[in-house]
Subunit: 227 residues, 2 copies
DNA sequence: TAATGTGAAAGTGTTCACAGCA
DNA sequence: TGCTGTGAACACTTTCACATTA
């Protein structure tokens, strides 16, 4: 009845709301009762006006002239992002990256539960990561069906990512985060978010190399590296 | 003299150029001599027209009516991205995520060399990852200075990320990729790219939950999971 | 003729400035 | 008075359609 019609939140905003939620959780644990958009924006690494616009998609959240009530805003964001309901996920590929993700405690407090950690390597099967035992990748379909999983994380080598993806989709998964450096082909109705860690470094390097060429030749305070 | 004035390549384009370069390397190794924008775009997971526009920032690269010569285009992209010159990087925080990045062989072929892998945990010091031995974090300043490092990757716990960042900047680093879930404060002239793995999952989950609410109620072909 | 290269249009996201309200 | 909420301007990206050329 008091259900607010949260209309069409832009994807870029959703990503930032997740960051605000994390910052607010930290503030709440520190006992803070309220924050201004300026302080919250600074802690989240964004522009204050942009933050206020982001929050405005949820309707009025704050008190003019004062700021935002930390616990109330936190709950509002949690609800908007759907953190309240537990989500069952599977993760395929328990190498270093998969282990890092599975072991990240932050997921548990945000509604995510890894009900299946899968790997093709028998040597890794049975390892316990973040409280869950690694199972053979053969169990994929069984785990997905048993828990009604709709979200999967792929951290396998690139060579097998597509076949793993096909099996996930066939089993009923509709949303996939892919860390393998290949573009996954999926049928309509299935979402893939591609995350490419090496591209981040490459973009940074590009911007870095441009620094000297940009404006004035270069500053004296910067030492030249090569002999 | 034949230096082409590559003017103002958008950041979004730079990120995709890195992906194209990876795909082209695969095609070159498979012995392919040429590709069309359609095939390249499909392998990279983008729109063909967008790919052509991306490449157009480097000037004409292809042959009308035919396509692109794989080796020539590959070299062109490599030069534009600055892959040719070797870049010295340091990585701080050799947990699972740091180990995953340090062990990724793809960096070596793209001009990146990790000249320093640093960790605060004495138990990890001395481990060899990707051919490089882990050193104590106390050596940070020494490594940065010795190799003229300007690029760093931070994969430490969130609690120490800012202090590590401060030390990196003081030592001369100008570009940082930060995987710790905190916004880093840096002086002007220093670039930070924030990568937040948990946010990716959160955005995906948000879109996933919206699927049922979107357009028509839902399709018959999709099974409902919960009992 | 079959593909590239590219203006122009549409869409999306960000920033600004200020009205509105405790 | 101070900070939120937001329309309007701006900047950036993507998409489309088609002229262009080997």
């Amino acid at each position: 009845m008091t259900e607010v019609r949260t209309r069409a939140i832009p994807e870029a905003t959703v990503a930032r709301l997740a960051v605000y939620l994390r910052v607010l959780t930290g503030l709440a644990e520190a006992g803070r009762g309220s924050v201004s958009s300026g302080e919250l924006a600074s802690a989240a690494g964004v522009n204050p006006a942009g933050l206020r616009k982001d929050l405005s998609y949820l309707g009025p959240c704050g008190v003019r002239g004062v700021g935002y009530a930390v616990p109330a805003l936190r709950e509002r964001l949690a609800r908007a992002l759907g953190v309240e309901q537990a989500r069952s996920c599977v993760l395929v590929g328990m190498g270093n990256l998969g282990s890092a993700l599975a072991g990240y405690a932050g997921f548990g407090t945000r509604g995510f539960t890894f009900v299946g950690l899968l790997d093709a390597d028998p040597a890794r099967v049975g390892d316990v990561v973040g409280g869950t035992a690694v199972r053979p990748v053969e169990d994929l379909e069984e785990v997905v069906a048993a828990h009604g999983v709709t979200i999967a994380v792929v951290t396998t080598p690139a060579t097998v990512a597509q076949s793993v993806c096909d099996r996930l989709v066939a089993a009923g998964v509709r949303s996939i985060v892919n860390f393998a450096p290949v573009a996954l082909a999926v049928p309509a109705g299935v979402d893939v978010r591609q995350v490419d860690l090496s591209v981040e470094l490459q973009v940074l390097a590009f911007l870095d190399q441009q620094k000297g060429v940009d404006v004035v030749p270069h500053r004296m305070s910067e030492q030249v590296a090569l002999p």
